[in-house]
Symmetry: C2
Subunit: 175 residues, 2 copies
């Protein structure tokens, strides 16, 4: 596979914010020529399909500033430093929805956009839920909504649910 | 839904490269407090599941510098300025794989990572393929590989194919 590999020559951090760290690296292409690669370093994240005891799916509706749209997604969140994905699933699910899961199962780990970020999202299914108290981050505003599997399928088919990770996780969960 | 909307107060372009444009906006939260939102503006992209006349799937293997990995994905590429997604599908498919499609069908349009970018990928299926000549961009190195549906399913189950858009498009295409 060496005929495909790009080699790092130099790395420059061009922006560091609270959320995003942006790099512009000088690289050597497989043919020996030089090029640049701009990309975002990301801590990784989880996303989870929560299934209630009566077989419904818990979604969150929130404004996504980059898209300028209110979107319907499965609960998700970034890994805290050093946090294990399994722990992050339980924490984010409870913070965003108030549900506590007795059981979680990993569905897959995916690269969201390998052309410009190293972000990996670990996709999970969670069930045996009990309702505690929602406590989102202080700059996070979201509505918790519960749908049947048929409603979810319909909303995917109509493009009402159009977040990639949510669609993929719901399909992998057999919805 | 007004209780969810975040209002732009000021916008600052903090990095502009060849690929990525990064913004840091000052916003007003639904509760009136101020916060910041960092995000990437993206021109949008297409990704396509190409099905050969004998029912196999065409994938591309390439080094994805941000992830540091050689990855197996469906053909994909960014929209040129003013380019329609349908035209981009035909162009990228031929450039990356050498295949010309007589027929394309839209599967869905998805947000890849609405937490930090407005990137939309339009997912397509393409068939009735004829083989012309591969002509990738000059800084793009990739191998074209053809797999049966059973091999694709197996590689998704084993995490060998772990690119989100590719997995979702393959599932939506009924693979």
């Amino acid at each position: 596979m060496n005929h495909l590999i790009e080699k790092k020559l130099a790395s420059e951090k061009v922006f560091e914010g609270n959320l995003l760290t942006v790099y512009c690296d000088k690289i050597q292409l497989p043919n020996g020529k030089e090029a640049s690669r701009e990309f975002i370093r990301h801590p990784g994240a989880i996303a989870v399909v929560p299934i209630t005891n009566d077989g419904k799916i818990v979604l969150v509706r929130q404004y996504r500033y980059p898209t300028g749209k209110i979107m319907l997604e499965i609960p998700a969140g970034k890994l805290d430093k050093g946090e294990l994905p399994d722990d992050c699933v339980l924490r984010e699910l409870e913070e965003e929805t108030g549900y506590v899961a007795q059981r979680i199962r990993k569905l897959s780990s995916i690269y969201t956009t390998p052309g410009f970020t190293d972000e990996v999202i670990h996709l999970y299914l969670a069930d045996q839920l009990t309702l505690a108290k929602q406590c989102p981050d202080e700059d996070e505003f979201l509505d918790v909504e519960v749908y049947t599997k048929e409603e979810i399928k319909d909303m995917i088919a109509k493009g009402i649910i159009n977040d990639g990770k949510s669609m993929l996780a719901l399909l992998l969960a057999g919805i």
